[in-house]
């Protein structure tokens, strides 16, 4: 079932820059979608349209088959939560608890319900022991988690994240991605995540949409999108590093393979099978 639908979205900033040039995209309920694209391709602008922060100059967005115009902003924000790239833009209250409670408080919930939601959201992101800490006493990665908790406390059906791994160390990236995967798989939250880290896509995401120059070039599974190397390069992107290695082994060292392994696990499986003299189809 399609939960969010962008139909021919166009948007131009006041300085005349065309950020979106007719974007159409369907987002399935419960999927983990990556929006991959180089800087300035329109990822952030598209995300801001998907939760109604920006109004399209042309086209329309549908939420559960109904146009955004049929919802109030409050209803949209409650269903589609957004996490910004810089956590400092999003965390404005003096302490963690107060910041996470901000959304539920604006929803007009009772004190007991606010406390319940804040505790629940902080537990989900593994930050409950930090509830009374000051925001400025947190690390960058912890701040990102609190941003997510602040949005989760409003219990959205869709979570939109703008480059959430940007600025994190490798351990922080792994831990944050594991958290998002858990929210997606265990709690059924639809996740749309803008990124330009291609290595993450085949490991965590169900589907990806390639953005280039204000348009969606392709939206499909990682296997299908990364099979067209020319298209990836045209969008100023690269294959995941392990896929690059496998591509060199295939094209320059004549190692036959049906399709490129995109993750370390797939590559390992393939190589072990080759070393054992078996022929293996990736993804089988």
């Amino acid at each position: 079932m399609v939960i969010l639908q962008a139909r021919n979205i166009q948007y131009r900033y006041h300085d005349g820059t065309y950020a979106l040039r007719g974007v159409s995209l369907d987002i399935e309920k419960g999927e983990f979608l990556a929006i991959l694209g180089p800087n300035g391709s329109g990822k952030t602008t598209l995300l801001k349209h998907l939760n109604g922060l920006l109004k399209p100059a042309g086209g329309e967005i549908l939420l559960e088959q109904k146009s955004f115009t049929q919802y109030t902003s409050r209803e949209i924000f409650q269903k589609v939560g957004i996490v910004f790239q810089d956590p400092n833009d999003q965390l404005f209250a003096p302490s963690v608890w107060e910041d996470v409670a901000f959304g539920p408080m604006n929803l007009g919930l009772s004190k007991g319900e606010i406390t319940h939601r804040v505790d629940e959201a902080l537990s989900l992101v593994g930050m409950k022991p930090y509830a009374n800490k000051a925001i400025d006493a947190l690390s960058f990665g912890q701040r990102k988690r609190i941003c997510i908790a602040g949005v989760l406390a409003m219990r959205p059906e869709v979570l939109v994240l703008d480059e959430p791994t940007c600025g994190l160390d490798p351990a922080g990236v792994t831990s944050l991605m594991a958290l998002l995967k858990e929210l997606n798989e265990r709690h059924g939250i639809t996740i749309i995540m803008a990124t330009n880290t291609v290595d993450l896509v085949p490991v965590y995401m169900d589907r990806l949409a390639i953005m280039y120059y204000g348009n969606i070039l392709k939206a499909d599974t990682p296997e299908n999108v990364f099979s067209n190397i020319e298209e990836i390069r045209h969008a100023c992107l690269e294959l995941p590093q392990i896929a690059q290695l496998m591509q060199i082994l295939r094209d320059e060292d004549d190692l036959p393979m049906d399709s490129l392994p995109l993750t370390v696990g797939e590559a390992r499986k393939f190589l072990v099978s080759r070393l054992n003299g078996n022929h293996l189809t990736i993804g089988a």
Partner: protein
């Protein structure tokens, strides 16, 4: 910038001790009343009493003396300046004189007395504020002000200022270092020019951030109103007793002639 970071941080107020445990409303009442007494004090003894009492209180909860001195440094500097200016320009009777580079410097008794009075009031007042700030977090202070029905705009501004002052300092520090590393401070002229650019850029960045923060608040349902969620519980017996204690101190001090309010 590290100096300001330490000065503004409420890390000590987040510790658990007997002073942080006192209700913020009681502390606010005491501080406001004591500040008024300090302002009306006829002599230097009451301000100095507040200064020593604040120090004793802060030492009792193990606040490092360096942290206290750091917080007092700037007001102390101004207090010394006032003392000096008063001593040099007010009065007739010479207390002390000396010559520097052919100029005669004369400190006068009346000026020094009045300067010392102001100096003691500055130190007394600032020590009370410091004792309050070392034992009260900004969110408790905002909750207290909300309880006293202070205007919401002021409370929100206070909360925002506290949240973003560290980021402003960080951004200023990063830009300052970037300018320095590209010889932006090679001469006095360049330093002034760089400083002007830095100030302008900071204002522009603050506007950008304000816009992004507003968006973040808007998507979480903000439509004006309060950003604070902490609400204080009704007063307990202890708070009433402390409050009555404060109410009694004032007339006693007026009666004994230690402060004059008219």
């Amino acid at each position: 910038m590290e100096f300001f970071h330490h000065t503004f941080s409420d890390v000590y107020a987040r510790q658990n001790n007997w002073l942080t445990g006192i209700d913020v409303r009681v502390k606010l009442l005491y501080v406001i009343s004591l500040l008024s007494i300090n302002l009306w004090a006829k002599n230097i003894f009451i301000p100095l009493l507040f200064l020593s009492a604040s120090f004793i209180l802060l030492f009792s909860i193990k606040i490092p003396s360096m942290a206290i001195l750091r917080s007092m440094f700037l007001p102390m500097l101004f207090a010394m300046l006032i003392l000096l200016v008063k001593g040099l320009h007010e009065g007739e009777r010479v207390w002390f004189s000396f010559s520097i580079l052919g100029y005669k410097v004369v400190l006068k008794e009346e000026g020094l007395h009045s300067g010392l009075h102001i100096w003691s009031k500055v130190l007394g007042g600032i020590s009370l504020v410091i004792a309050f700030s070392f034992t009260t977090t900004i969110s408790r202070l905002c909750a207290g002000l909300k309880w006293f029905h202070a205007p919401n705009t002021i409370i929100e501004l206070l909360a925002f200022m506290y949240r973003y002052i560290f980021l402003l300092l960080d951004e200023a520090s990063t830009m300052w270092t970037a300018q320095k590393s590209r010889l932006g401070h090679a001469s006095w002229g360049k330093t002034i020019q760089s400083f002007g650019t830095l100030g302008g850029l900071l204002v522009m960045r603050a506007f950008d951030r304000a816009e992004r923060t507003y968006e973040a608040m808007y998507v979480r349902g903000y439509e004006g109103g309060s950003i604070l969620t902490v609400n204080l519980s009704p007063w307990r017996k202890e708070e009433y007793i402390s409050f009555i204690g404060m109410v009694l101190i004032l007339p006693i001090l007026v009666y004994t002639g230690n402060i004059h309010v008219w």
